[in-house]
Symmetry: D3
Subunit: 338 residues, 6 copies
């Protein structure tokens, strides 16, 4: 059954050097617009839900281009404010083999989204229209004003009986020195508000400062996640373990912890075309499974397959339909579809 | 010794999304013109024969572009009629890893080729000028009028002492429900007319409804193909077994059955750049080997190498010369040629 | 005040050779999706209205791409059915100077839109949600089934108190031999249903078979249009006179006939980048002016400026905002805006 | 009636910077293959004749690309030898307004064509198959060996009753210092062999050293051309007067002198997209008119219109059909053809 | 005689939509790096001088790309500091005819250049190595810190006997409300330091608040400029009058005031391909003329021709050599150079 | 410590078909400028040294483009002469899997570099300014005049106390029949002049005609290289062993022989994007290690890592900084850098 899902987050302009040249070799860039909130709502819109983005974009040519792009992705734009002057940007140079991809951010702190003052969003009315809201740790890292928006919105949704999703997504470069210390109180506040949380054992250990005696990743996970769920009264915790192989393939296995029980997906190994944003595809799969009432087994396999397919898609934003993901869960690699 | 070879078949416009974007992401398409008959005659023209295409194209800008493209491939266009209004088209989105390639056809049933009425081709005179003619099962699936053309032309060539090649090439989507049943009488008619047939055990089982007790593909093949050759009095039957591996490689082994004897090629495993049309390269290798009087061993290795190289070439149509194929048969993967 | 506007019409795929090459010279195409209904609703959406397209597109990759493209243009897609198999297409080769542009259609008669059977659209409910509906003569030329849809929808809107717009847009190639004769009864039926009609004296003379003694275009116009308005009880008739100059410029003057009075725009002369769809920009300007209650003077100047700007925009579909059009109406050609 | 026309000349690779960048700004080039002989035979093939190019190209990837390109243009390649190592090349940077286009040649003197030794072409047998042969002054400027080929071929054609066309086309940079003096004897030899000559009064004055008292171009022409025709017993002399206007347009008027009578075309003024090779389109129009038995009036208008259209076509080589040229002769600039 | 010329200014990244699409239509951008200082030093380096840019760029991939680009232009990069985090950017959408070009700035105030703290440049040592230094009003508009750099550097050069050039270049959007008032004291300080000033009567009236009774532009110029020269003891004042014509052409006439005498260039009218940065080409022509000791007549004609050619060049930065400019001063528009 | 390094060698224009099409399929080329000397000096400039190229380029548009390109790479161009007419060129078609890459040279023997007469370079003064000079066996293969330049320059540098590097780089196609015999005396002369030599056991066996009883490559190397070092009094000999694997990966291990001791790098296996020029990256690593006083272990690992990274970079010329290479030496393949 189709739901109304919102995400609160920044829209970034992605400026990608085509092919494998460096920025100092090429002369053209491909551009698109993305962000964790964009990726999650676009994926859910493709699954048949109504996906709202709650964000701010400038009323100029760059902001217009961003809105057009979001519309193309199927995102409903009625909760997007047009204000401020800049869009955050990042440059992407594709790696090849032994040479890793490289991301260079342009100034995002002065963006329309990050300079929106308090009271500018009508969270009260938005909360009435939506069933689920999604937040992530990247947004939480921005500044006090943005954090205030997040928490206000989360509370409003909760008060209206909606579901709050929080993706921990800790980025060290955004929090700076003593980052874990700075981040912890904000993370705890969000965890208390959240019903569904995306994280794994590393977030528990580093951001929340929890301890475990285990050494194996999965054992650490199974030791810590139930404690997190209990402490912050979280219904569902889900996440992935990723490993990067030498031959341009990644391996991914997903988990979901719900009703005191862990369910793990198969470990998928696959070639990677575009890695950025693939985590958001996994998140969208978990949210979709929960909204549709899938079994935990189906939810975690669906999310893992959605994540895998997102690595084969150009751009940050997942593009696969529910039926394409379901087919990937059951079939082996096939010949051309014709 | 250079021969005159004709193929009867439709010219399709291939509209391919560049790179790995989906049609709903991109804004440009690469176009080219192909078809089984185009691919086979172009390959044979590159081997030094005169390759005629017998087809119909509209007398408009799209038809002009098709003719120019066929000329570029070295195809002799004097047997191409200009009539009707449309060219059949298909869209191709390249797959990557776990995401398969996807072909979407536009309306081909209204094409110039498929709406040519009886009596429009002068098969009688064409038959006098050619040594070999090639037909395929895709054309046979079109409509009664096209099937009538095929059979008329095949008989005319046979009466003039020419060689008839028929590639079974059964496409389920083209025959629709109860397809095997509908197709069988037409296939049988073509097999009776054919001297060289491209097929494998699946065609024997599914299209011709033959039975075997064997379970292994090769054993099925060795059980059924001699029976087919006998029943329809076919001199040469050739084909391939293909398997698709997870890591973007395919494996291919070819066979030829001639003088009651099977000859198999080495099993080749190779990276795939563009899979469409590679089967036609194998066919062109078999025809060339037969026309040049190669030993069955050389013919089947040549055809398999031609097929392998066609997977490394952009577009549907094989582009390798005889000497390039012969070199591939003997050398290991090399450094740059300079 | 923002209105709800729908258009009923086909979505065509435009396949354009980039630059000035011919289809037989190039190897890439730019693609986009357009159509009179697309152009008009997209333009009105950009002016702040809600623009619905009522159409049918196939549930395949080409249909998905079309829907994404329409969403990017800001069109609301909730009235678009997904059914059938094909999208109508046309190829465009850009002319230069003495060499005219050339359009080659692919088969549109088998398109999803043109093969939709009766009863498939829920016109009754759509009519309740919209203030204005737009139809055009191109759609009227398709087939009986499409014409039946048009008339049913027009009546439903009229019954709900909405405004019906009809753009005569007669295309000789679509009606074939004795076209005017075939077209006339259908045009008359639409004119009786319409409140706002886009046409000029040529439509009156050729399609409606009306006579005038005048020889000058404007005199013919002023003689015939009031008679049309009276006969079919049409509130507003608007249209343009275009002349094509040798130096790659066109001249355009618009008129509106309302309350028994003609109002003419300035005659605008301007360089042309992309002529297709510019007439729809003029239509959108007239509709906007009428919906906003502009004076006839402002409406016709606004429509003419919108039409002029559309000639400077890449693609069929107008992209200018209301403020950009208003600025063009008052300012002379300026230096860079920075 | 369709004729067999050959041209003897070099195939050059054209490497063009796309758009308006300089070679020191850009990083991609568009390439094509052309040459006076290529342009003339391709144009005549498009008019329905069989066009042979007599030339030499290396048996490597560049030579293969050239042959494919010529085939695409409709040129019959059976008289092209494959020998030597290099293809002559030139770089083209498009000018804009006040900045002229710039051509930079790479080494053409070492090309396959220019290093072909005597006796390599079977002119004797070629001459039997052709009705008309075309030569030009650029080829004449190369070296003694090439000149020997030219004259041998011209004589062979003449002996077989064929028509010899010679385009004077004097290029100062190719003949170097004292160029007129060096060139004159070779030009005279070709003029004695020729039936149809492309030239104007400048060739008569500078290459042939003839004198006139007239000062106006047309008067000089009318004074000198009859003398040339008489002295060298030439049946038809044709050529153009071109003037370059400031606003990116050129003006062109053609003449033909036949049976002691001058016929002039209208003076055409038109926008220029690609000027190179347009003179060859004029030549092809004259040859076509003469072969088809057009009146001098029709021939010269046809040639001028062919020349004008060639300025609107991408690349050196004319692409217009006979019917497109005839339509241009009668119609004014039109709207889109659809 | 070759001089050492420095410019102090920001490097901007130009992100241009190719062709005539809007940012909300396209998906690729062409990028380059420019700025008034970049344009002037690159032009002078092309004339044979050593051109230093004094600026700051971040030590990341974007900064590396900028440095590579400046090196390609021939700029000596030894005075470029690598510090800070961002490069200022602007987006450019090309206008066409009635639709003006549009520039959208991204955040430049946080750029490496604009956040360089005092004492970071070693102006003392730089001043010893250079003969001429160039500053402009855009830089002056940035912030106090940048203004302090400018004035410190200007004084250092002056003390070392070098020449100070100041281009007034007032941009209203950069100074904001009451801009003229804020700007005036800074402009006056720079004018007192400058030897060569680029300006016209508008700068005198609006920035310096001077009054004139004249109404005609040239009369205003001739009234005010001598007063400015006298008041601020400036040796040379030069500038242009530009008018923008409807047909995509501009007209430009240059002046130089030196030794109490005005010299004017011819009024040039020309087609415009890329207008941005063309003013810097004019400036570079004036500086070159002064450094080479050209007569005022030659200097002003050279500068005007340099300016005109810069309008025909892709990108902000002039690319013409001295000989190309001199040729343009004497020749009419020519045919292809080959 | 930053050094002054020069290389003497030809600049070649690389004309590469984009993607995987053949030259006979495509219509665009990417171009760049490279050569062994270009690659080595550009790599060393990126490591912080001053890199001079000693070469000759024509004073035309192609030469200008080459100079701009070299400047972009960070090469100091003050030792580049502008003379002659042509730049050597090569066409590159990318291989895929079983189909090898193919290089087709255009005429390089007539290039500006290869036709420079004696006495044109001021080697005497150049030698005073540089610490190290690099030569290679490709240049040695050209002609007597070029060889004379090489030896003269090597002697001049040696007399000034500089270091001479010689890369054996024997190309059979350049020396023709009996190539080893022709080459040997010139190689011996260069080896006598060299301090650092790039070679492996094959050069010793084939060019120098040395014998070994060993059969294993490494044993042959360890047998022959010390003898070479001794015979020609060479301080440092370094080189690689490469093997090409079926799955589009190469394996590389480097060695350095210095102070009578062999040091070997780890054997690196990696995916290959662009193989051309990667050997020059290895050379640049050896030179940098020697200039910086790295231990042999660090030098050979640094050179091998530099070589590996160069296979992942678009174009012939290495683009990695010292810090990127050092990081690759220590880290495993990572996720995106952001």
């Amino acid at each position: 059954m189709s739901k109304h899902v919102a995400a609160f987050g920044e829209v970034m302009m992605r400026l990608q050097v085509p092919g494998y040249e460096l920025l100092s070799q090429a002369s053209t860039l491909n551009y698109s617009f993305s962000g964790t909130g964009v990726n999650v709502t676009a994926a859910l819109a493709r699954f048949g839900h109504t996906g709202y983005l709650v964000s701010t974009l400038p009323a100029n040519a760059v902001g217009d281009a961003a809105v057009s792009y979001l519309q193309k992705l199927g995102i409903t734009q009625s909760f997007i404010r047009r204000d401020g002057t800049y869009v955050g940007m990042y440059f992407l140079e594709n790696g090849f083999g032994a040479r890793p991809s490289r991301v260079t951010y342009s100034n995002r702190l002065e963006s329309s989204f990050n300079t929106s003052s308090e009271g500018t969003y009508d969270f009260h009315n938005m909360a009435k229209k939506i069933d689920v809201v999604h937040f992530c740790g990247i947004t939480l890292a921005m500044n006090d004003s943005v954090r205030h928006h997040m928490k206000t919105f989360a509370k409003a949704v909760k008060e209206n009986g909606g579901t709050v999703v929080f993706d921990c997504n800790y980025r060290p470069s955004l929090w700076g020195e003593d980052g874990y210390e700075k981040a912890k109180p904000h993370y705890e506040e969000m965890l208390h508000l959240a019903d569904i949380v995306m994280m794994n054992e590393k977030d528990a250990m580093f951001v929340l400062g929890m301890k475990t005696e285990m050494e194996d990743r999965r054992e650490q996970l199974m030791d810590l996640i139930p404690a997190v769920a209990k402490k912050y009264t979280i219904s569902v915790i889900a996440g992935t373990h990723r490993s990067i192989n030498g031959n341009n393939t990644h391996s991914l296995s997903g988990f979901i912890f719900k009703n005191q029980t862990f369910t793990f997906s198969k470990r998928l190994t696959f070639s990677v075309y575009d890695r950025i944003g693939a985590g958001d595809a996994y998140t969208s799969g978990i949210i979709h499974g929960e909204m549709e009432g899938f079994s935990p087994e189906k939810t975690v396999e669906f999310a893992a397959a959605a994540g895998m397919l997102a690595h084969t898609i150009v751009g940050d934003t997942p593009m696969s339909s529910e039926s394409e993901i379901l087919r990937t869960m059951t079939e082996s690699v096939g010949d051309i579809e014709r």
